[in-house]
C-alpha cells in the first residue's frame, strides 16, 4: 500500500505502537482517532495493537534487552530463555528464579596448549577453540558448520546448545553473530522474530493473504469483542481467525463453514431428487415426464418411477394407483422432509453467499474509492480531502454492513427454526429493515456517485448528494447497530414482550 492511502485513512485500527512516532493520522492508531465515536465497527474499544515488521523486531529486541539486563545474562541466553518460555517475560523470570539448579555461565576456559576438537578429532591450540558458556571447546570450523547446518535445518536452531551430549549450555544469538554467514544470520533472525509472534498466545499473524502484519491482543479478561482490524483493512476474529463475524458467535461460524464445505448437502440433494434403480441401485434423476424409466446400460432395467416396480408387470394391470404398502409411503415422506431441509438451507446459503460476494466487491470499491475516487472528486468538485472523506466512510459502512448481513443469514439458519414464531418475525423484520437501508446506501454510493466522478466541473447538487450519502450512511449504521445488538441478545426483546414485562 502506498503512503497516500495511509494518510487518508481515519480508520479504527489499534492503538499507538511506538511512542516516538508522531501519530498524526491513525494508521498505527493515533490518540485523536480513538476519541471519535466509531461509526463503522460497532466496537467499543481497541484491545489490540497492529505490529509491523519493524515493530515486531523492535519489541523482540526490547524484551531480549530487558531480560538480559535484569538477569545479567548474555543476549544469547536471554534469547534462549525467551524462546523457551514463549516470549512471556513473567514466565522467564519465574523459571529463572525458581530453577536453583541452573548452570551459571562459566568464564571461558583459560589454558594454553593443544586439545582435541570433539567433533573433527583434530588437535587445536586452546586459544583457537571456541566454547559456548561452558567448558566444552570445539574448533571454530566445526562450530561454523554446526551452526550453519542447524540454521538451514529450520527454526530448531533457536534452541541450539553446546554439541557436547548432555551439556545444556546455550549456543545462542551471540555465537550466531560471530560465526554465521550474512544469509544465515538473516535466516536466524527471521526465525527469532517469527517465534516472537508465533509462540506467544497473545500474538498472531494477520490471516489475510499477503499481509505481513502481526497483531498483539491485550487480553483484558471479560473482553466481549474479538474483532480485529488489521492495518491492511482486513477484519478478523481473534478467537477463531476467521473473517469477522459479529454478531454471530465462533461456534456457529465454524458449524456453518463446515456445513458449506461438507458433502452432506450433496448427499441430501441426491436423496431428495433421485431414486435408486431397483436393480442396480444407481441414483437416477427423473428429468422427463413419463414414469416409464429405463436404467442406463448395462443395467437397462425398466421400472415405474412412482412405485419402483418392474415395468412389464405394470402395463396391463396397473399396480401403482392403489394404496399398497406403507414402507414406500414412509420413504416418500422422508424424501419430502429432506427436500424441505434442503430448500431451507439453500435459502440461507444463497443469501449468505450473495452478501459475501457483495462484500468482496464493495471492498474492491472501497479501495478504489481510497486510491482514486476521492482524489478525482476533490479535484472536480473543488473540495479538500476532509470534504470527500464521506465517500470512504460510506464504503467502509457498506463493507461492514454486508459482512454483518452475511453472517446474520448463518444466524438465521441456526437460530430461528425452532424458536417461537415471534422471534423469527422480529429477526426477519430487523434484517429486512437493515437490508433495505443498505441497498439504498449501496445504490447511492455506487450509481449516483458516478455522475460526479465523470463531471469536468463542480456540480451544484454535489452538496445535496453529500448530505444524502452522509445521512444514508448514518441511518444504515443505526439499523445495523440495532440488528447486531438484537442478535447478540439472542432477540430477547421478544421474550420480554411475550412475558408481558414490556407494554
Amino acid at each position: 500500500m502506498d503512503s497516500d492511502e495511509q494518510d487518508l485513512y481515519y480508520g479504527s485500527g489499534g492503538d499507538v505502537v511506538s511512542e516516538e512516532e508522531d501519530g498524526y493520522y491513525c494508521n498505527d492508531g493515533d490518540a485523536a482517532g480513538d476519541d471519535e465515536p466509531d461509526r463503522t465497527t460497532f466496537t467499543q474499544e481497541t484491545t489490540y495493537t497492529i505490529l509491523r515488521e519493524e515493530d515486531v523486531k523492535k519489541r523482540a529486541e526490547n524484551d531480549i534487552a530487558q531480560v538480559s539486563t535484569l538477569l545479567s545474562v548474555s543476549r544469547g541466553l536471554a534469547c534462549h530463555l525467551l524462546c523457551r518460555n514463549n516470549w512471556c517475560l513473567n514466565a522467564v523470570y519465574d523459571q529463572w528464579f525458581a530453577d536453583a539448579e541452573r548452570s551459571d555461565e562459566l568464564p571461558p576456559h583459560q589454558e594454553s596448549g593443544e586439545q582435541l576438537c570433539g567433533i573433527c578429532f583434530e588437535p587445536f591450540e586452546i586459544e583457537d577453540m571456541v566454547s559456548a558458556s561452558c567448558v566444552h571447546s570445539f574448533c571454530a570450523g566445526c562450530w561454523k558448520t554446526y551452526i550453519s547446518f542447524s540454521i538451514n535445518d529450520g527454526p530448531g536452531c533457536l534452541r541450539l546448545q553446546c554439541p557436547e551430549p548432555k551439556c545444556r549450555a546455550v549456543a545462542g544469538v551471540d555465537m550466531v553473530e560471530s560465526m554465521a554467514s550474512v544469509d544465515e544470520k538473516q535466516k536466524y533472525y527471521g526465525y527469532l522474530y517469527r517465534s516472537y509472534v508465533e509462540c506467544n498466545r497473545n500474538r498472531k499473524w494477520c490471516p489475510a493473504s499477503g499481509c505481513e502484519f502481526a497483531v498483539e491482543f491485550k487480553d483484558a479478561g471479560g473482553c466481549e469483542s474479538y474483532d480485529v482490524t488489521c492495518d491492511c483493512y482486513y477484519k478478523f476474529c481473534w478467537n477463531c481467525i476467521e473473517e469477522s463475524h459479529r454478531p454471530v458467535d465462533c461456534k456457529t461460524v465454524e458449524k456453518w463453514i463446515k456445513k458449506n464445505s461438507s458433502e452432506a448437502e450433496n448427499t441430501n440433494w441426491i436423496l431428495a431428487y433421485t431414486k435408486p434403480c431397483p436393480k442396480c441401485h444407481r441414483a437416477i434423476e427423473k428429468n422427463q415426464g413419463c414414469n416409464h424409466m429405463t436404467c442406463r446400460s448395462p443395467c437397462k432395467h425398466q421400472f415405474c418411477w412412482v412405485c419402483l416396480g418392474p415395468w412389464e408387470k405394470h402395463t396391463s394391470n396397473s399396480t401403482c394407483n392403489t394404496y399398497r404398502n406403507q414402507s414406500s409411503n414412509i420413504n416418500e415422506e422422508s424424501r419430502e422432509r429432506v427436500k424441505h431441509f434442503l430448500a431451507r438451507y439453500t435459502h440461507y446459503y444463497e443469501r449468505w453467499d450473495s452478501n459475501d460476494k457483495s462484500k468482496k466487491r464493495a471492498l474492491t470499491d472501497l479501495n478504489q474509492a481510497r486510491n482514486q475516487h476521492i482524489d478525482t472528486l476533490a479535484q472536480t468538485q473543488g473540495e479538500n480531502m476532509a470534504g470527500v472523506q464521506f465517500v470512504i466512510d460510506a464504503w467502509t459502512q457498506i463493507v461492514e454492513c454486508r459482512r454483518v448481513l452475511k453472517w446474520s443469514y448463518a444466524y438465521g439458519y441456526y437460530h430461528t427454526s425452532k424458536e417461537k414464531p415471534g422471534k423469527l418475525d422480529f429477526f426477519g423484520y430487523l434484517q429486512g429493515e437493515a437490508e433495505a437501508a443498505l441497498e439504498r446506501l449501496h445504490y447511492c454510493a455506487e450509481k449516483e456517485m458516478s455522475k460526479y466522478l465523470i463531471a469536468d466541473r463542480p456540480l451544484e447538487d454535489f452538496k445535496d448528494f453529500k448530505s444524502k450519502l452522509l445521512q444514508l450512511t448514518a441511518v444504515t449504521g443505526n439499523y445495523f447497530q440495532n440488528l447486531v445488538l438484537a442478535l447478540e441478545n439472542d432477540l430477547s426483546e421478544v421474550d420480554d414482550e411475550t412475558s408481558g414485562t414490556k407494554n
Partner: protein, 162 residues
C-alpha cells in the same frame, strides 16, 4: 563429504586403539566403504539379553557428523524400542537429540544402555511395550530371554569377540 570421511577415518583409528578399552563393543568398518559399519555388542548383564551377542548395521550419511548415522539391529531382539521385523531403533540421540560430538562408539554404548533400560512408553514393539507397561516383567523377560537364546547366542566354538 570430505569432512565426514576425515572424521570417520579418525573414528576408525580410535576404534583400533580403544578395542581393549571397551570389551563389550566391537566396531568394524566395511572393507571397501567407510560409510558402512557393523558392530557386535554384548547383551548387558542382569538383563534378559545377557550372554547374547547382537549385530548392528550402521549406515553413515554424507552429512555425518552433523546428521546421525542410521542404525538397526541385524540380530532379532525382543525389546520395546526395537522394531521386531526391521530392527529399527527408537532412540532420541539417533533422531532429534543427536549431536556431532557423538561417535559410532558412543552410539553403541547408548544402545547397550537402552537394552538395559527400555522405554516402554514409546514402543516400536507394542507387544513388548505392553507387557512392561502392564507390569508383567516376568512375561517380558522370558520372551526377551527366549529370543536371545534363539537368535543371539554364539554357536559353539565360534569366537565372536577377538
Amino acid at each position: 563429504m570430505q569432512a565426514s570421511r576425515a572424521r570417520l577415518f579418525k573414528e576408525y583409528k580410535e576404534v583400533q586403539r580403544e578395542k581393549v578399552a571397551d570389551p563389550d563393543i566391537q566396531l568394524v568398518c566395511d572393507d571397501s566403504n567407510i560409510f558402512k559399519w557393523t558392530a557386535l555388542i554384548k547383551g548387558p548383564s542382569e538383563t534378559p539379553y545377557d550372554g547374547g551377542v547382537f549385530q548392528l548395521a550402521f549406515s553413515v550419511p554424507e552429512q555425518y557428523p552433523l546428521q546421525p548415522p542410521q542404525v538397526r539391529f541385524l540380530t532379532k531382539i525382543f525389546h520395546p524400542n526395537v522394531h521386531f521385523k526391521t530392527g529399527e531403533i527408537c532412540l532420541d540421540i539417533l533422531k532429534n537429540a543427536w549431536s556431532p560430538a557423538w561417535t559410532l562408539q558412543s552410539v553403541c554404548r547408548a544402545i547397550i544402555a537402552l537394552m538395559a533400560h527400555p522405554e516402554p512408553d514409546s514402543p516400536l514393539n507394542c507387544d513388548s511395550g505392553n507387557l512392561l507397561r502392564s507390569g508383567d516383567i516376568r512375561g517380558y523377560q522370558s520372551m526377551a530371554r527366549m529370543y536371545t537364546r534363539l537368535a543371539a547366542m554364539p554357536k559353539k566354538g565360534e569366537l565372536v569377540f577377538r
